[in-house]
Symmetry: C2
Subunit: 569 residues, 2 copies
């Protein structure tokens, strides 16, 4: 490809609207342009990278025995009614009406459509297991789209859905997909981790996320330093401390704390260790709880894990914190003065809290705290549960090593859905005994367009993108210096361009009338792995310069060996 026939569209300035580096670089490198909030046009360089991702994903899905189909973007609303998600999904589901006033949605995912297909198409256990996938445009009406294609409204997903007669068969395909995903992310050349994940609103049993490690990631992921254990922090279990609870040494006393509305203030003003304090968080109770509010208690320096909280039977899902007014009406004190002693609502305490002794907490009276509280002496031990986020240094729940925390970008997610959808939509087949049986399902997503952004978050420097070879829009760029003034430079450049094409190398020939500095800057910004520089002076010695984008070093090559050298890399 010649630059003069291409739409390079690089930008010198960093657009002020872009917060994260991948968004900035995708705009600057001419990969995307914003059409409207959360809607992006992919420019030629972006499309080239996107197609590389798609190709690798497609090859590995096919190799893993999945079969490609293509379902409509526009889906009938009645299927979403049937699955129950028409009500549940919230405003991210863009509901539309056609000219006949019938309900449709723009598909954010395709469980309903694929279940409808399979319940009509598959009648016998002999046709199972079956794993169907597509690579396709999806739409999610994000309230606040951001970070470019990382969280856009329209995006490209690979989504696969498998169907089974038994949990064992589901397990097997789940493992096959797990392995295929590992191959995909390895081939893409990304540093990634499969981590245990929460199933979230999609329902079902086991699930793993595939996270690309990057400091800008929105997810906290947790690793053991001496085992394979890895999990999203949402899912990582915080074990109970192994030491037994210490015997009380202090009496419980009521203390005036008029200026201590927060843990930090309390600790500072009364010279307490933060590990001797607790936080009492009040949330709306579930229907089962048979009361209005429930208190959740974690140690002063810990944070509530909202996913764990939401899964507790006493807590309403989705999680809703009580308002100050609700708290005062029922407890009689403000949120800064709450604690377990004399608390008139049910409470659940974190495992770590259950092992504490001689600790301080609000007294449920404004501006007063109790110090020296002890379980079983001053009050009955309440229900204990795992409620907190793990922190670095916690013991790993696998039993081996301690935990570390890194940031990640979720680019894949695999789920064992079980019969959530197949039951709601009555997707059955006849089993070997000739009896009707509800199908088990798995689903397996990859954020194809998001991978492009995640790869950049992980692979860039202050000059631009540094593509892994497998994703690069071009493998090689040929930069002739002042070609329009030197017939010799032009001749060698054209000749190398020709040779590179014949060798099957994806090559960009920068034949623009630009200064060499502009060309070098663009080549580095766009992140092409290999550069050949042709200059009048080095041609005197029969030489061209080679530069690697990642290593940065320049070496000299004989003209006639240049293309063979690129091929060898």
């Amino acid at each position: 490809m010649r630059s003069s026939n291409y739409l390079l569209s690089t930008l010198k300035e960093t657009p002020s609207s872009a917060e994260v580096v991948s968004h900035q670089l995708m705009l600057r490198a001419g990969m995307i342009r914003k059409l409207a909030s959360g809607l992006y046009t992919w420019l030629p360089t972006g499309v080239r990278v996107l197609q590389k991702v798609q190709q690798i994903v497609r090859e590995e899905m096919n190799r893993a025995g999945a079969i490609e189909i293509n379902m409509p973007v526009v889906q009938p609303g009645d299927l979403w009614q049937e699955s129950g998600r028409w009500e549940k999904y919230g405003p991210e589901l863009l509901r539309i009406k056609d000219r006949h006033d019938r309900d449709f949605v723009l598909g954010p995912t395709h469980e309903e459509v694929v279940t409808e297909l399979v319940r009509k198409e598959i009648s016998s256990y002999k046709q199972l297991p079956l794993n169907l996938y597509q690579i396709q445009t999806k739409f999610r009406d994000e309230v606040r789209p951001r970070f470019g294609v990382m969280r856009s409204r329209e995006f490209i997903m690979k989504d696969a859905y498998s169907f089974h007669l038994s949990p064992e068969s589901l397990d097997q395909t789940y493992q096959t997909m797990f392995n295929a995903y590992c191959r995909i992310f390895e081939r893409l050349g990304l540093e990634y981790r499969p981590v245990l994940a929460d199933n979230g609103s999609i329902g079902g049993n086991a699930s793993h996320e595939f996270q690309v490690l990057a400091q800008s990631g929105e997810d906290d992921i947790v690793f053991s330093d001496s085992s394979e254990y890895a999990a999203n922090i949402e899912k990582a279990e915080a074990l109970a401390p192994s030491e037994p609870r210490q015997t009380p040494t202090q009496p419980m006393i009521l203390v005036d704390t008029p200026n201590a509305k927060t843990i930090e203030q309390l600790v500072e003003q009364f010279d307490l260790a933060i590990e001797q304090t607790i936080k009492t968080l009040v949330v709306v109770a579930s229907k089962e709880a048979d009361c209005e509010l429930v208190a959740l208690i974690v140690r002063g320096d810990h944070t509530l894990n909202e996913v764990k909280a939401e899964h507790h039977p006493l807590v309403s899902a989705p999680l809703q914190f009580a308002s100050d007014e609700q708290i005062r009406a029922i407890i009689g004190a403000g949120p800064g003065s709450l604690g377990p002693v004399n608390l008139p609502i049910p409470m659940v305490i974190d495992r770590t809290v259950a092992q504490m002794s001689d600790f301080g907490a609000g007294a449920n009276i404004d501006d007063k705290h109790y110090f020296g509280i002890n379980w079983e002496r001053d009050l009955v031990l309440p229900e204990v549960a795992d409620l907190r986020n793990v922190v670095a240094g916690d013991p790993s729940p696998c039993g081996h090593g301690t935990l570390q925390i890194k940031r990640g970008i979720e680019v894949g997610h695999i789920f064992q859905l079980g019969d959530v959808y197949s039951k709601a939509m009555n997707a059955t087949v006849l089993n070997e005994q000739g009896k009707s049986q509800v199908l088990s399902m798995g689903c397996y997503g990859i954020g194809v367009s998001r991978i492009v952004a995640a790869a950049i978050e992980q692979n860039h420097d202050d000059k631009g993108i540094i593509w892994p070879e497998a994703l690069a829009p071009f493998q090689l760029i040929i930069i002739p210096m002042n070609m329009h003034k030197s017939h010799r430079v032009q001749k060698v450049a054209e000749q190398l361009y020709q040779q590179a094409q014949e060798a099957g190398i994806e090559v960009l020939f920068d034949d623009r009338k630009e200064r060499p500095g502009v060309m070098f800057a663009d080549a580095e910004l766009v992140g092409i792995p290999h550069t050949l520089i042709i200059g009048e002076r080095s041609l005197d010695n029969g030489i061209v310069e080679y530069k690697s984008r990642r290593q940065g070093e320049k070496i000299e090559l004989a003209i006639e060996q240049a293309i063979a050298h690129i091929q060898s890399l």
Copy 2:
């Protein structure tokens, strides 16, 4: 691919809902399934064919210098306001509102979005010409979707848009696209014709359609029998008869015709030649006409060409026929008794009508006609225009040969848009003189999903589809007869399957436990070009049978030569 790992999904019965053969066969061959009106899921066999089409289209677009981009499916409504199509497009444009109540559309085409991109991205004539394309899902909310993917609501298009500084540059790219389209349809192996076409509502100047010839086509296309001339009947010019008008021989007389409400009745009851009669059609006048209704007159055996009529300055666009009440109110007679004599509204007559003499027509009095009417003797010759559809046998407008008419399916359409969109949306660049200049545009569409249906309309027999090689979902099917009873059949089948894969042949190995008859029927239905049949009896002689789907003949091959034979085809 093994059938046991595939979703073959063939149907024995023809679904009653499918009217045309391609729709029937796509359902029966397991290529598509209906999700809702005009919405189809593509099954694996369908996806394989679709991807072949996409690949050929992509290769030829790239070869022709077009650059691939990818624009969103969801488009901001304000761009459509700007181009004026928000009002004009009608209910086929699905208008939607996002969660913030902002207007969007599901893109039926992308002129607005690409013009928005180019006006922001391109500032100098140096970046022109530019030809951008995408292969992408589109949506058109058809009032009556039908014929499967031939006229569905969601479909896949390749759409390209070119931008130019001069009409000459537009001409040049238009010709390049014309040639690329010819290569595409040749590579697809389809019998097609490029034909002159009307620009329709998209606006602009020159345009050609690419029509796949098939009896079920919705379009009439017109050819010269002795030149390259070809046109959509909408566009084909009907020349004036070359013979001069004959001298009158009859007096004009008023005749009672109480039982002649139609041309057919008139001709039968009064023993007239239909060529001696005319039809007077009354339509709503344009604003320019400065009157309510206009009469359009064609010979009794001719039909009005509605596109030509609509283009006439006196006629309103879109064309609207007057109601019986409107006609009676202004003319004082019913539609069965209209004619040019004493007609109180403006009229335009077809070129053929202008050459008629001694003809009959309604008298604008109920149940009365004039016979023996002659122009310039009985009434002034009105405005003359080309108003009718050509008929087989007409002279070709190119001056060479006579016209034939065939049926076609429109699968591609190229347009010279000129400045219709760039002017409305103010898309300008600086020209060589440093002055702002409005861009010229071309646009070039291919109905990717429709091509699949059109190929079937053209290539099938009573057993099923007969794929052109380039489109076949598999090149070869291996059918082992009663493999589950014969270890020897199984062994040879597996061995040939292995060899075919190694030779890079796309092969389906029918390893199902089915009767041979079922396998043969499926192979013919799905239309795989080459079949190898492995049977116990012929193995005794070291032989397998080969069958060609298109030619139907069976030949015997030595086992060890079988795959080489397939490769040679």
